[in-house]
């Protein structure tokens, strides 16, 4: 058991309270995606769980036990901007394992595997401080994966990764992480990432938990506008109150299925995407976009 | 610039003992008041002072090493030498006086005893004091390195005296320094031998023939001043009441 719990945790930065969580639990062996606007306190949350910061009040538990600064580390953290020690990518991947007293032969294997999974095998002998941003981020991710910790904390792990690698990782990561049986806390701004990797979703706004629950429930009924927005819904003003329209559910003319609601669209721009056209415009002041299939008017 | 310097200043290479006592400062002030000439006293061991003269790096010298002075005069580097003043060296050591030199009146004999027991602290800085010490060893027929636990400080008189004090050792010190520092050390004067331990200070002019750079005019005036009755009086009086003893005995009063 290695579920992560926050109890009455608050944290200040430069005098401002940037995190204030009454109670939050990340279930064991589950992948939870944390969504939230910039400055919501997501990274701060990860840093607290990783033990890099001490909460101003309250306490954090892993597997029921309070977080301890001494004793063997139980978490691995990949922050959004990667930092490396001097030396090669290999040394950077190896260091954490060495620090956790993993025997050398096993270290080698783990480094190789992690490198393969993240597609950085051919970077292993390059100086880690001379990588492109995406390469760096992949090394950063690999370094965390290689540690195979109970709890793995990922901060926008794929933000700078190219589409091809990204798709591959999105396919493999869930398998890998489940196999490792780790409790995963993933901070992301990307809908797809959140959906593919987040069995549960936590929405953080202004340092407070705005919504929390299984992915499905949140997507069925976003509790509020912010959440809906962060999940990619489009908010429209209907006769009877606001309606959250799921992405892609907006269609022109007689759409296929779904409860029909009519709106009038002020078209502001039409982008020709070849086989499709991307129409952007505003409905009741809110900007929306929808794609028209080829032969539509 | 240098042309004006010629008339307004000169460099005096002087032995430390005369300088540290503060006597020179007094004389130099009076000289400036009198003539407006600025004297720059460079305090070094007598050896270095004479060396500076040989290089023509100074205009005049104040040293207390007659034998060495004679050599340089012979070599023509120094001219117009004048005996300025004298005092004497004192053989000081621990009150206990293990070597038992106090009972002596003859410096040579005393040194012979010190040589057998030690410890003895030497200047070892090529000063007049050192060369006198070496002379005494020689007269005593004692090879220097056979002297029991003899150390060299390679420093000025005061530093050497401090070392001797710390090691409770014997050392040879000039009267001026001794009177100045005796209150700071636990050593006692053990032997005074007016004859053998006389300490003569002389002033010389650097030979302008060999060293054209020499500022003859101001230098000469300074030498003349030093042997003038006024200066000699100052020398006689210097430090009397402050230190309760005469530091230097003027030698040019008679002339």
């Amino acid at each position: 058991m290695s579920d992560v719990g926050l109890h009455q945790v608050t944290f200040q930065r430069a005098g401002r309270t940037v995190l204030d969580v009454a109670s939050l639990r990340f279930p064991s062996r589950t992948m939870t995606a944390v969504l939230g606007p910039n400055g919501a306190g997501k990274t701060t949350l990860l840093r607290l769980v990783a033990g890099l910061e001490r909460p101003a009040s309250g306490h954090i538990t892993i597997g029921g036990e309070p977080l301890r600064r001494d004793g063997p580390p139980r978490t691995a953290l990949a922050l959004s901007d990667a930092v490396f020690v001097r030396g090669t990518v290999r040394r950077n991947l190896d260091l954490g394992l060495a620090l956790r007293d993993v025997p050398p032969p096993e270290r080698e294997i783990r480094v190789r595997d992690a490198a393969e999974e993240c597609g950085i095998t051919d970077l292993l002998d390059r100086p880690a401080r001379q990588l492109s941003s995406g390469e760096a981020q992949r090394v950063n991710l690999a370094r965390a994966l290689a540690l195979r910790p109970e709890v793995i904390l990922l901060d926008e792990p794929l933000a700078a990764v190219d589409r091809l690698t990204r798709r591959a990782l999105l396919d493999d990561l869930p398998r890998l992480l489940r196999a490792a049986g780790a409790t995963v806390i993933l901070v992301t701004h990307d809908r797809e990432e959140a959906f593919r990797l987040g069995e549960r979703i936590v929405v953080l706004v202004g340092g407070q938990v705005r919504a929390e629950g299984a992915r499905r429930d949140l997507l069925m009924e976003p509790p509020d506008a912010d959440t809906a927005g962060l999940l990619g819904f489009v908010l429209l003003e209907d006769a009877d109150g606001p309606v959250a329209v799921a992405p892609g559910e907006l269609r022109a003319g007689p759409g296929a299925g779904g409860p029909h609601v009519g709106f009038t669209l002020q078209v502001t721009d039409v982008l020709d995407l070849g086989r499709q056209r991307l129409v952007t415009g505003t409905i009741g002041g809110r900007s929306v976009e929808l794609t028209l299939p080829e032969k539509a008017p | 610039a240098s042309s004006t310097d010629e008339r307004t200043e000169l460099i005096l290479a002087t032995t430390t003992s005369a300088y540290e006592s503060g006597l020179l400062d007094t004389l130099i002030d009076q000289f400036r008041a009198l003539t407006g000439i600025d004297v720059k006293p460079i305090a070094v061991g007598s050896g270095a002072a004479l060396m500076m003269a040989q290089r023509g790096d100074a205009d005049a010298t104040l040293t207390h090493d007659p034998t060495a002075e004679a050599r340089y005069v012979a070599a023509g580097h120094l001219v117009e030498g004048r005996r300025l003043m004298h005092n004497d060296f004192v053989l000081v050591g621990p009150a206990a006086d293990p070597a038992g030199v106090a009972s002596n009146t003859d410096a040579v004999e005393a040194m012979r005893r010190v040589a057998t027991l030690g410890p003895f602290v030497s200047r070892g800085d090529g000063s007049g004091t050192e060369s006198r010490e070496l002379l005494l060893w020689q007269e005593a027929g004692v090879p220097v390195d056979s002297v029991k636990s003899r150390v060299e400080t390679g420093q000025g008189m005061s530093a050497t005296l401090y070392v001797a004090n710390d090691q409770q050792a014997y050392t040879l010190v000039d009267r001026a320094t001794w009177l100045t520092l005796r209150n700071r050390v636990d050593l006692v004067p053990l032997l005074e031998d007016g004859a053998r331990l006389r300490n003569d200070y002389s002033v010389h002019l650097v030979n302008p023939e060999l060293h054209p750079g020499t500022r003859v005019v101001p230098a000469r005036r300074f030498l003349e001043f030093m042997v003038s009755p006024a200066a000699q009086q100052v020398i006689a009086e210097f430090g009397r009441e402050r230190l309760g003893g005469q530091l230097f005995i003027p030698d040019a009063l008679g002339e």
Partner: protein, 234 residues
């Protein structure tokens, strides 16, 4: 022109002194190295951890301590020497120890001179590391001691510079060594004090020769530094 002789003969003199195997010269060189290296080593052992603490610690009065260290960095060797002298002279509190005018006393004085330098500059070099590095090491699982070790490795250039500064200061320092050591021939005479002595004797060439030897020592140590610099990105 004397100075030509001086400068030219100095080099020859230096070689002569070294090759002649003149026991005293070699003794002085080795003594100088022994004393200064010993003092620097001690200063390093004490200074680097303190510097690390100053750089990373966030304790009250930190600025004050920093200020004091900075001041101590500018502490005149002459004064240090004088104070040590006063403590160890016969009439002083530790007069009985008989340490004055011994190499040990010189090591102590040089240690007092070098330590603030080592503290100050190692603090600076630790602070100049990527700010996120310590957190990274923590999250990788490094305890405080391994973190100190790893950060020192990362900052090794700066730390070496710090140690160099300390070594350079004490090996080239004369005020304290003279007062505390007494420049005793055969026991506490080091290169700098020897230079003063031979200068006092008017033996300029020899003085410069000693000076050149001193520089040579400094340079060899520098070569080590430069060598490490080569392996910067290793």
């Amino acid at each position: 022109m004397h100075w030509v002789n001086d400068l030219t003969t100095a080099l020859g003199e230096a070689w002569h002194l070294l090759l002649s195997g003149d026991a005293e010269v070699w003794a002085i060189i080795l003594r100088t190295l022994a004393i200064s290296l010993c003092a620097t080593a001690l200063a390093m052992v004490v200074g680097v951890p303190l510097g690390y603490g100053l750089a990373r610690g966030r304790f009250p009065g930190r600025t004050l301590v920093l200020g004091m260290v900075n001041t101590a960095m500018g502490m005149p060797p002459v004064v240090v020497g004088l104070v040590v002298w006063l403590f160890f002279t016969r009439s002083g509190p530790f007069g009985g120890s008989g340490l004055l005018y011994t190499p040990q006393a010189m090591v102590l004085a040089q240690f007092l001179i070098a330590t603030p330098l080592v503290i100050g500059f190692s603090a600076a070099s630790i602070q100049s590391l990527p700010p996120a590095l310590p957190d990274l090491l923590t999250s990788l699982g490094a305890g405080p001691w391994r973190r100190l070790w790893l950060l020192s490795r990362e900052a090794r250039l700066g730390l070496l510079a710090a140690v160099m500064a300390g070594f350079g200061a004490v090996i080239s320092e004369v005020g304290a060594s003279m007062t505390v050591g007494g420049n005793l021939r055969g026991s506490t005479r080091v290169l700098t004090t020897a230079i003063v002595t031979v200068t006092g004797r008017g033996e300029m060439a020899t003085a410069i020769a000693y000076g050149l030897i001193l520089l040579a020592l400094a340079f060899t140590v520098t070569l080590i530094l430069t060598f490490v610099q080569q392996r910067r990105d290793a």
